[in-house]
Amino acid sequence: MTTVARHKSPVSRQATATAPRARERVRPPGAPRRVGWLYVLPALVIYAGFLLWPLVRGAQFSLYDWDGLGPATWAGMSNYSRLLSDPVLRGAFWHLLVLILFYAVLPCIIAFVLVAAMSRTRIRGLTFFRTVLFLPQVVAMVAVAVAWQWMYSADGPINSVLRGLHALGLPDWSRGWLGDFTFALPAVGLVGTWVGIGLAMVLFLAGVQKIPRELYEAARIDGAGPVREFFTVTLPGLRRELAVALTLTTIMAIRNFDLIYMATSGGPGDSTKVPAYEVYNRTFNTGEVGLGCAIGVTLAVLAFLATAGIGRLVEGRDS
């Protein structure tokens, strides 16, 4: 209160000029004041109530053995050690690693190829292609899952095409993709790739427009081919966009629940189980709330590490 009053009237400020002078000089004009908390209070209350508090409670639950109904018993870190000792959960984290490849790395690579091609030639109807490629990002994941479940089904379009190829003399590659122990995980992963490409591409396209044309011309005059041009001009110019795209898609992979839930429910066997699905499964289906929360907390930490790590690696420390 006193600070506000002081700033309002320069007269009173002069009156009490001697003693508080030093304190006031410490704060440069425009520096944060306590009144700032008042401005963020409404948002903060909602954020704390719906995000921070559940996070803290979740962390607390993860230290208990609790079936979600009766009284809980203290479990210490045993839920966390189960993440390492339980082969199903360990497998889930391995699957997550594979999925990050499909969800984050692959879309970025494909988007790069598309953008590199576009940066060299003028394409008619670019807006149209951009919209179409971005579309999967807009559609709800549940709808995506249902559509792909049909695509992959025994009599779905993918198998029809493969059977057509078989009729032409190729080996018969048709199978029930989502029920196949080897191919279910890559099949689900490819759906993620399909969703991720659009996002990465739109980000890269925006970035490419920012790179000065002269750089490309200079590279061409120096005799750079398309590959050289990409690595010396396009890629360095897109570092920030790459970091954003990788972060977003990696986090999408880490919290990937809806697609797995709808398409395979973790099956066949345990072959498409991912940690985010197990959070739900352990909490609601099998009544291991503590374990579910432990997985959730671990995922939150992983997401945090991934975000920080990608930022450092791709963007570089000093930028």
């Binding site: 803290v56 409670r57 962390a59 607390q60 639950f61 230290l63 208990y64 609790w66 079936d67 979600g68 109904l69 009766g70 009284p71 809980a72 203290w74 992959y152 089904s153 025994a154 199978r175 029930g176 993709w177 989502l178 029920g179 196949d180 122990f181 395979t264 429910s265 973790g266 099956g267 066949p268 066997g269 345990d270 499964n281 609601f284 289906n285 099998t286 009544g287 709330v289």
Partner: protein, 451 residues
């Protein structure tokens, strides 16, 4: 940077403080006390204006119709009672019920599934009301065979199903039996099998003539558990299966149980199932069967109304054929989800009267009228459609011989995954029968030790 670390440290400290000071999750609720039978009020018309909240899972055609009709009749009989019906699909109800029951104002009447995954856990946590005193007033145990009442009974500590107090009453019967395509059988020149050996022979013939012998979709893992259960019932004594599922003796690795897994693996290897069965949705199985994919199909009676409508007289239903012709069959099934009263309900007497009403002999007539299989013989109605008549006859025969065995997923809360997953692997030929059964046993032993 140092400010950031300091701030992070402060945040961690605050979080730790919150963790240690906040109370532990869950709390010991007082177990509900039994009410003396004399204190039960059966005169609902004088109960004043009451809104009864009922959560059910009767969302499919005939079942929905049945409940809507019964609710309307109940409200017509007692105009002072208003029923607030909330219905969700089976799986959705399973998931939301947990949260609803642990809240402060749960619904009055709920359909809680039998087994250690649901009812036993709810009972252990003191969330359901024991119905024994109401039973003394309304005489449910006299109405129902003992086996069916046992399915809805649990000891108060939630440790043993099949004894202890009564916690629910069911409305419809259900069994997993054998559907067959009559048209295809006659084309193949086979009679409906009377023995298990004849059935296996028929499978071979069907396969030889290019038909799919058994329509089977197993994307969800649960279907393989039902199929395994049917085979298990032909391999071992029904009493052994009951004991095993309810946790009072036996092991999943016992020889007859491994032999049943072997049979399942053999059938899969011989190509007796729909191609890529692990990739086919359960709900699509009867749809494909109705389209003519599959000579036989194992499935629950809950599919009968739909199949009857789609296939008319072309489809038949029988109990899984026994080892010897004419011998009593055994198969999985029992009764639909039991209707239970929550311990926090403010109107338990009204709730009990409602449960009594929807399980009365008149309600069984409504069940038949709406194409369902009533748990008790309906006093005056008979189904019209051929298939529904066969289903009804199969149920009557099974009840007479006391041939029902419990669903296998009652065994442990995690069994659907812990056994269903290995069975998917077994169907795909990734594990041996012995390995699959060992995985089931491991989960079973872990649960028994924890219980």
């Amino acid at each position: 940077m140092p400010t950031l670390t300091r701030r992070a440290a402060a945040a961690v400290a605050a979080a730790l403080a919150a963790l240690t000071t906040a109370c532990a999750p869950g709390s010991e609720t007082d177990r509900p006390q039994d009410k003396a039978p004399a204190a039960v009020n059966t005169d609902i018309a004088k109960a004043g204006n009451v809104t009864l909240t009922v959560w059910d899972q009767e969302v499919q055609g005939g079942q929905r119709e049945q409940i809507e009709k019964l609710n309307a009749q109940f409200q017509a009989k007692y105009p002072n009672i208003k029923i607030n019906r909330v219905s969700r699909s089976f799986t959705d109800l399973q998931k939301t019920l947990r949260l609803a029951l642990s809240g402060d104002s749960p619904p009055d009447v709920v359909e809680a599934n039998q087994g250690y995954a649901s009812m036993a856990q709810f009972v252990k946590a003191g969330m359901l009301l024991p119905l024994d005193s109401y039973d003394q007033v309304y005489g449910w145990k006299k109405r129902y065979p003992k086996g069916l009442m046992d399915l809805n009974s649990v000891t108060k500590d939630g440790k043993l199903i099949g004894s202890g107090n009564l916690y629910g009453v069911s409305l419809n019967g259900e069994i997993v039996g054998l559907y067959y395509n009559k048209e295809k059988l006659s084309k193949l020149g086979i009679q409906p099998p009377k023995t298990w050996a004849e059935f296996e022979q028929a499978l071979g013939t069907a396969k030889g003539k290019g038909e799919v012998p058994i329509a089977f979709g197993n994307l969800e893992k649960l279907p393989a558990m039902q199929l395994y259960g049917v085979i298990q019932d032909q391999n071992t004594d029904k009493e052994a299966v009951r004991k095993l599922v309810f946790g009072s003796g036996g092991a999943w690795t016992d020889a007859p149980n491994v032999a049943a897994a072997q049979k399942l693996a053999d059938w899969s290897k011989q190509g007796y199932f729909t191609k890529d069965a692990n990739a086919v949705k359960w709900d699509d199985t009867p749809v494909n069967f109705a389209k003519g994919q599959g000579v036989f199909m194992f499935g629950g009676t809950w599919w009968a109304p739909d199949l009857s409508e789609k296939m008319k007289d072309k489809v038949g239903f029988m109990l899984p054929p026994p080892a010897q012709a004419g011998a009593p069959s055994a198969t999985m099934g029992g009764e639909s989800l039991p209707w239970s009263i929550t311990s926090k309900s403010k109107h338990p007497d009204v709730a009990a009267a409602y449960i009594n009403f929807i399980t009365s002999p008149e309600a069984m007539d409504v069940s038949v009228e709406t194409g369902n299989l009533p748990v008790l013989a309906a006093p005056s109605k008979q189904p019209d459609a051929t298939l529904l008549k066969e289903v009804s006859a199969a149920w009557a025969e099974l009840s007479k011989n006391d041939g029902t065995t419990p669903y296998l997923d009652y065994a442990t809360p995690t069994f659907a995954d812990a056994f269903g997953g290995p069975l998917q692997e077994l169907v795909a030929g990734k594990v041996t029968p012995q390995q699959a059964m060992e995985k089931a046993q491991a989960d079973y032993t872990a649960f028994q030790a924890k219980k």
